[in-house]
């Protein structure tokens, strides 16, 4: 898969959908293509977050360690991004992401990502918009959950 196709994939990711292609191309070029085999971890819960991953192909499980042992809480599909929270707010990984079958990813390093945000405000605004959307939907869900609870 070449740079052009990667740019196409990145545009499918909601976080990057509003960003102009030239910037996405730079992001793709400065990122590493990393492939994982079945069962290999992209990162582990508790690790320091140093990169975010865009899944280009394949699927991966999101696993959280609990008192009752590891639980798979979700799984991610192509065109989704994982690990972005940890690089935005300096917390350690909140879950383990493990490849289910072979997985191709684009690994975006933390410093590169932050640098892009600083240099291209339009990208930052786009990210803020996506995160705000997420927050409002989470808030709505929370409100709904609370009203159901009562």
């Amino acid at each position: 898969m070449m740079l052009k196709e990667e740019v196409g994939m990145l545009r499918q990711v909601p976080l990057f959908s509003g960003i102009e292609p030239a910037k996405l191309k730079l992001l793709a070029f400065t990122s590493d293509r990393v492939s994982y085999r079945d069962g290999q971890d992209l990162f582990r819960q508790g690790d320091e977050g140093d990169a975010a991953y865009v899944i280009l192909s394949g699927e991966a499980d999101i696993i959280v360690d609990s008192d009752a042992g590891p639980i798979t809480v979700a799984h991610v599909e192509p065109n989704s991004i994982v690990g972005e929270i940890a690089i935005l707010c300096d917390v350690s990984r909140t879950a383990t992401v493990r490849a289910r079958g072979p997985v191709e990813t684009l690994r975006i390093r933390k410093d590169h990502f932050l640098r892009m945000l600083r240099e291209f405000p339009e990208m930052t605004i786009e990210i803020v918009r996506v995160l705000a959307n997420r927050l409002s939907s989470t808030t709505a869900e929370l409100a709904e959950a609370k009203s159901n609870h009562h």
Binding site: L3, E6, K25, F29, D32
Partner: protein, 904 residues
């Protein structure tokens, strides 16, 4: 050292000085004869004196003497020669004398030069010898650059003077006297005039030169201070940058240079003034000769031949006179310099020479206990560091010293290592003061490490083994030519009072590292490096560096097996995709286009980097294969994409690290180049522009850059071009490249590249690390792990070890200390650059490692964290300068309030 220079020179060289004086006196005979001859020639054959009658002859070479008692004895009656024959014979004698005088001069000068150089060697050696014996506290006050200047520059003029010290006055004085006597003999009055002027010169000039000496001394001191300051600037460059004080330093240096300039300018003014007066006086004499001598000749009281001889002889007087005065000046100048240097090197409490006497014998272990007896130490400001401390460390004890910050524990460590001297009390071993024990005992049976590490420029190996180099243990064997050279070196060293230890001998004391010799030294090095957690660093250094085929023979020999073993191992672990091997007939997608074209490692500049795209033979290969145009198009594509991606970014942007094709500075150049080349057919592009663009394509790796520029057809073309490149390669290029060969070691490539014989696949998670682990395992299995360590140990650590990280330096220092299997290991807050978890790990490793091979040395460890004392049998607790607790970790924890507080 002897404070008077002349006496110093006399003591060491009186035999040679006497010899040379004798030769000089001997040389006076032909010298004087050559004065007399011109007169004989002019008066005799030329003017016809004694040849008044035609056919008259004179006797030549009549050798006859009048002896007392015996009377007249004639040895040879001589030849009878006519006027022309006499002229020829006398001229020949003149020529002979010229040759003899010249040969004498040659011999004398060479002899003096050698004498001077030997003495210079002796002086320099003695000064360094003194530096090696300075008490350590003295080094707090001296600047290294100043000491270096004194030894190198300030004694240098002595070398020139030493040869002349006694010869010159005799030689020049003799010459001047000869000339003067000769003039006297010819004409008493003219002689008297010359004598009077000479007397004025001798009295006046040295007086005028006294000021020159004062200025000279000032010049010496200011120059020495300057080099001290320059040394300080170099050493403290970090602090200068951090504090923005570079201009303060500039001002300081400028002020010093100004002062030096003033002194030197003053010196010139005086020097040339004195010269002027001296020349003037010297010229006055011939003026008087011409006037008075001429007058006397006109009067007929002096014959013309005499006057010519006087003037010819006078020609030889001002020269020696001037040189004689110069000699005196030089003598005073050098004496002043010498006295200055000697004063600087005269230090109290100098170590005695016998303390450092070399010994090749094995030193028996230090059996008794090491003890501090009522020890008190102060810092330079007089504040107490340790007060009235007494304790003993017995062989085999493991003792931890724990202290509050800035307490006495570190100072005790230093006192046990003899780095600082106590104010009162002492450190003893058995009955003797530790300070009185020879260094050959303490340096071999005791070891010391701290966080204050000094490294010497050289390889890691040199620095690691430094603690074992006490004496030339194994003499080097020489062939015949080498032996002659070596014998000469020994003789010369003795002539100059230098030691004749052979630096090329093997100085490493293998027994003291617990091994037999150079072949099994790695049995000692490996566990030590493991213990201080340095082996990985060294191994990685080795993997990244090229090996020395002559030294690392096993690696070279087994490279084929190593490669296939790795291949098999990768296959077995289902990781064969992680390394893409080089195969002679196919394209390696993980390598650059350039590598694929060359399929070898460039060993010279001809085929490296940009040189490749400009190499005429390479260009011809590209042209013939039709690849030139293809790569050119590819290069244009790369340039366009790179500029599109990066043109907006500032040049210092970190993203540029990802751009392998060009530097940020080159982007505008390529932008302009693209504009210029747009739409231009390949055939009309200049060869320089072609090379610049084609060179871009060489760095391209498809899986990494992902521009989508490689097709199967292009890859095949590149492989074909590679074959063509090697098929017709001209001889002069054959030395510039080493072709990849699956069964042969590539000298120019790193060890890792050699073992991989391929490229790591891009984008495999943890690929590099997993492959590395596998490579290390294989190296170990094939018994070449030690050789790769050895490659790593060949790394040059730079000045003061600055090419290593601080942590690596401290680990190396500790490794050096434990490599020497000592009886007392003193470790003073080591590894401060490391985090406490790693420090803890290394501490436990070291305590384990020192016991290897049934040994049980005493360990005295000033720990950096009180909790570390749990690994020791016995703990000494310091509160400030006082020893307040001595016991096991457990008892102290329950009984000792201060220890409890420290540990909590």
């Amino acid at each position: 050292m002897e404070p008077s220079l002349l006496r110093y020179i006399w003591t060491h060289t009186w035999r040679q000085q006497l010899w040379i004086v004798a030769i000089v006196v001997l040389s006076m005979i032909p010298y004087y004869m050559s004065f007399d001859l011109p007169k004989l020639i002019v008066n005799g054959p030329i003017q016809g004196g004694g040849f008044e009658k035609p056919g008259a002859t004179q006797t030549f070479m009549n050798i006859a003497y009048d002896f007392p008692l015996i009377g007249h004895v004639e040895f040879f009656s001589g030849f009878q020669l006519g006027r022309e024959q006499m002229l020829l014979a006398l001229s020949m004698v003149f020529l002979l004398l010229v040759v003899i005088n010249g040969l004498f001069k040659l011999y004398i000068n060479t002899y003096k030069g050698r004498l001077g150089e030997r003495m210079l060697r002796r002086v320099r050696y003695q000064l360094v010898d003194l530096v090696l014996r300075f008490p350590i506290s003295h080094f707090k006050r001296v600047k290294s650059a100043e000491v270096a200047t004194m030894i190198k520059d300030e004694v240098e003029p002595m070398g020139g003077f030493i040869g002349d010290a006694f010869v010159q006055p005799v030689f020049l004085g003799g010459q001047a006297l000869t000339a003067l006597i000769f003039i006297m003999v010819q004409s008493f009055w003219l002689g008297l005039i010359a004598l009077a002027i000479v007397a004025v010169q001798i009295v006046l000039i040295p007086r005028m030169r006294r000021r020159l000496l004062v200025l000279g001394r000032e010049r010496q001191l200011t120059a020495r201070e300057l080099s001290g300051r320059v040394g300080e600037i170099v050493d403290g460059i970090g602090a200068i940058h951090i504090n923005d004080t570079s201009n303060f330093e500039r001002a300081d240096i400028a002020a010093r240079l100004g002062r030096i300039f003033k002194i030197r300018y003053d010196l010139y003014q005086w020097k040339f003034m004195v010269k002027f007066i001296n020349n003037f006086l010297a010229q006055i004499t011939p003026f008087l000769f011409y006037m008075i001598g001429g007058y006397l000749a006109l009067e007929g009281r002096l014959d013309v031949g005499q006057l010519v001889a006087v003037i010819a002889a006078y020609k030889d007087l001002p020269g020696p006179m001037k040189d004689l005065i110069d000699w005196d000046q030089m003598r005073q100048d050098v004496q002043v310099k010498y006295a200055q240097v000697v004063e600087q090197f005269t230090v109290d409490r100098m170590l005695e020479a016998k303390q450092q006497a070399i010994t090749l014998d094995a030193i028996s272990p230090m059996a008794g206990a090491l003890a501090a007896v009522n020890l008190t130490m102060h810092d330079d400001g007089g504040a107490p560091l340790v007060e009235h401390v007494s304790f003993e460390v017995h062989p085999g004890d493991h003792v931890a010293l724990v202290g509050t910050a800035a307490g006495g524990a570190d100072s005790l460590g230093e006192a046990f290592a003899r780095l600082t001297q106590p104010i009162s009390g002492r450190v003893t071993h058995g009955d003797s003061d530790l300070l009185d024990i020879s260094e050959s005992v303490t340096g071999r049976r005791m070891a010391y490490a701290s966080s204050d590490v000094s490294m010497f420029q050289g390889t890691l190996r040199d620095n690691l083994l430094y603690g074992l180099k006490h004496a030339p243990m194994r003499p080097k064997t020489y062939d015949e030519g080498g032996m002659t050279q070596r014998k000469w070196e020994i003789a010369e060293a003795r002539n100059a009072g230098n030691p004749d230890f052979d630096i090329l001998s093997d100085w490493i004391d293998y027994e003291s590292a617990g091994v037999k010799g150079p072949d099994d030294i790695y049995n000692a090095i490996r566990p030590v490096l493991e213990a201080v957690l340095l082996s990985r660093d060294v191994l990685d250094l080795g993997l990244r560096s090229p090996a020395h085929p002559a030294r690392h023979t096993k690696l070279v020999e087994h490279i084929g097996e190593l490669r296939s073993a790795l291949r098999a191992r990768l296959e077995k672990a289902d990781m064969s995709g992680m390394v893409v091997p080089f195969e002679p007939g196919s394209y390696n997608r993980e390598a650059t286009v350039g590598e694929n074209l060359l399929f070898g490692a460039a060993t010279g500049p001809e085929l490296r980097g940009k040189g490749l795209a400009e190499n005429p033979y390479f260009i011809s290969v590209l042209r013939e294969s039709g690849l030139g145009e293809r790569l050119y198009t590819m290069g244009l594509d790369i340039a366009e994409q790179a500029i599109e991606l990066f043109a907006d970014l500032p040049p210092d942007h970190p993203f540029f690290q990802q751009l392998a094709f060009m530097t940020p500075e080159e982007i505008p150049t390529f932008q302009a180049l693209l504009q210029k080349l747009k739409g231009k057919p390949f055939a009309s592009v200049s060869s320089d522009d072609r090379a610049a663009i084609i060179a871009l394509s060489f760095a391209y790796i498809e899986p990494r850059h992902r521009f989508g520029l490689l097709t199967d057809e292009l890859m095949k073309k590149i492989v074909d071009a590679r074959e063509a490149f090697y098929r017709n390669m001209p001889d002069d290029l054959k030395g510039a490249i080493e072709r990849y060969d699956p069964n042969r070691y590539t000298d120019a490539a790193s060890v890792m590249d050699n073992v991989l014989f391929g490229r790591l696949s891009h984008g495999q998670a943890d690929g590099a690390e997993r492959v590395r682990t596998m490579v290390c395992e294989i190296l170990d299995e094939y018994g070449v792990y030690d050789e790769v360590l050895d490659v790593g140990l060949s790394f040059n650590v730079g000045v003061g070890g600055r090419r290593l990280s601080g942590a690596q330096r401290q680990k190396l220092d500790l490794a050096r200390a434990i490599l020497k299997r000592s009886d007392f290991l003193i470790i003073n807050r080591p590894l401060l650059a490391l985090d406490s978890r790693t420090q803890d790990q290394i501490l436990r490793n070291v305590l384990e490692e020192v016991k290897r091979g049934d040994r049980n040395p005493a360990v005295l460890w000033v720990v950096s964290a009180p909790a570390m004392s749990q690994y020791f049998d016995r703990v000494l607790v310091f509160d400030g300068s006082h020893l307040v607790g001595d016991g096991t970790n457990e008892t102290l924890r329950s009984d000792n309030a201060i220890f409890k507080q420290l540990v909590s």
